[in-house]
């Protein structure tokens, strides 16, 4: 248990380093843009594919429930709202944790155990600035881009599945959307995406950066990155839910 808090402490120090470096060194946008596009391209197909089917799952589930009450007209709104506010950000972040996060943790971990990070430091460059900042912000930005795309695909997919499987037509589906979604829904979804992106970026960069023990150590770092990312995302989901309800005055 105390080990958990010790880790958490080291992890926060890591974030502090990043923040400190961000404020105190000159910046170059190009590596960040390069990282963002790399991450986005690598994960696009996964996100689109999964988004599509997750939309389908929710549509079928909600349809079954609403049909009991003859409330199918609400399908569009309910589905879209649930997707944008909760399910979309959660599932897409899970996937990103697996694809992007694990890759980054492995990359940084390998660099660490082959002393490349030490070499960078000894050659007069701050490794946090050179390696971590572009990756960190690349992942956060890419998460937001991928999330938006994923949500769009999910909603369209839902509409498609609703038409094909639940006997609604697209118009009926779209009709109820404004009732359940407004600007706060979008904000809520994006806020979650940004926070989850930060978690994926932070945890995976940290685990990779602090890997020790050769190739096996890299493997351990990757596993830990995947597990902790998912765990923190679920916890963050809860906390952001609380805050959003408080800030935007929605009562439950």
């Amino acid at each position: 248990m105390s080990a958990f808090f010790f880790e958490l402490g080291r992890f926060s120090l890591f974030f502090r380093e990043i923040w400190h470096t961000l404020l105190n060194t000159k910046h170059n946008l190009r590596p960040i843009i390069a990282q963002t596009s790399e991450v986005t391209i690598r994960s696009l197909s996964t996100v689109v594919f999964s988004g599509f089917f997750v939309g389908g799952i929710l549509v079928v589930q909600f349809n079954a429930v609403l049909a009991q009450y003859d409330a199918q007209i609400f399908l569009g709104g309910l589905n879209t709202s649930a997707l944008i506010r909760e399910v979309g950000p959660l599932i897409i972040s899970f996937l990103l944790a697996g694809k992007v996060g694990a890759f980054t943790a492995a990359e940084l971990g390998t660099m660490r155990v082959t002393e490349q990070i030490d070499a960078i430091e000894c050659l007069g460059t701050n490794p946090i600035q050179y390696l971590i900042l572009p990756r960190f912000f690349g992942i956060v930005l890419a998460s937001m881009i991928l999330l938006s795309t994923g949500l769009l695909v999910s909603v369209i997919g839902s509409m498609g599945f609703a038409t094909a499987l639940c006997g609604l037509n697209p118009l009926q589906f779209a009709q109820s959307i404004p009732r359940f979604t407004d600007i706060t829904t979008l904000l809520s979804g994006f806020l979650r995406a940004a926070i989850y992106g930060v978690i994926v970026a932070g945890v995976c960069c940290y685990q990779g950066y602090t890997a020790t023990g050769g190739a096996k150590g890299v493997g351990r770092a990757v596993t830990r990155a995947a597990i902790y990312t998912n765990l923190y995302i679920v916890i963050a989901n809860y906390i952001t839910g609380l805050w959003i309800h408080l800030l935007l005055g929605e009562s439950s």
């Binding site: 082959t114 002393e115 490349q116 070499a119 430091e121 000894c122 050659l123």
Partner: protein, 256 residues
């Protein structure tokens, strides 16, 4: 003025890795640091470039106390001291040219043309062909990677060279090459070299002095001829084996 350790102590948890060591490297010499695995050899080098801070005592590089430097000060230290790591540690995503130029871009104020010249110059020093410049580390053999990483360290023209196990993991031919290179470069560039190694044979051939670490303390610090005659059991155990492998002329040189 050189590299100096003053009563340096360093522990990791309950283990005393360095237990009050003091020594000074003579300018221009090749100093080998020997000892069993885990006895603090790499830790010693890491203190010099500021990757580790002593728990007590001081590490001096010329007039800079390494442990007390801020970020700017550390850059100064690292300009003076170049470290060659155990792994080639070349950056996978950069070409060899960019790898060698890496330190130059940050530790020296040179324009592009000067950087180009310096890279080629350094490449020649380590006897690598210019054709490797546009290749990536993964395309080179391990021995060539090691030489490229040596070039990278040499490019900013440091006054002190630190080698962490330079020949561990190399085949006998490459080992010979690297040892020869270390000797040649030290003499040619008039730098002070500290070499951490297991390789007693190499030490006997090219070192000026040998420092033996055991249990965090300095067991012996003397020139090669004196070390070879030492009565310490640990040193004798290192030496017996190695002496048998030396050619007769080499043994004569050691006055045995």
């Amino acid at each position: 003025m050189s590299i100096r350790f003053e009563a340096v102590q360093k522990s990791f948890g309950p283990k005393h890795i360095l237990d009050g060591i003091s020594f000074e490297a003579a300018p221009g010499e090749i100093l080998f640091i020997l000892g069993k695995s885990g006895m603090g050899k790499s830790v010693t080098l890491k203190h010099i470039v500021g990757m580790l801070k002593p728990d007590s005592g001081r590490v001096w590089v010329e007039d800079l106390s390494v442990g007390d430097q801020d970020a700017q000060g550390l850059v100064q230290v690292r300009t003076l001291c170049g470290m060659v790591f155990q792994h080639p540690a070349l950056l996978d995503s950069l070409t060899i040219f960019e790898n060698i130029a890496f330190g130059l871009r940050r530790l020296a104020r040179l324009n592009e043309a000067e950087i180009d010249d310096r890279v080629r110059e350094t490449l020649a020093l380590v006897h690598l062909p210019e054709s490797v410049l546009q290749q990536y580390p993964i395309e080179l053999s391990y021995g060539m990677q090691k030489r490229a990483s040596l070039a990278r360290t040499l490019a900013p023209k440091p006054k002190y060279l630190l080698f962490d196990e330079p020949t561990t993991g190399l085949d006998p031919v490459s080992t010979q090459t690297i040892n020869q290179l270390i000797f040649e470069l030290s003499r040619k560039l008039k730098v002070t070299s500290l070499v951490v190694s297991h390789d007693m044979q190499c030490a006997l051939k090219i070192a000026d002095r040998i420092l033996v670490l055991d249990s965090g303390k300095i067991l012996s610090l003397a020139d090669v001829k004196t070390t070879v005659k030492s009565k310490e059991p640990l040193i004798r155990s290192f030496i017996e084996e190695t002496l048998n492998l030396l050619a007769p002329e080499e043994r004569k040189k050691l006055e045995l």
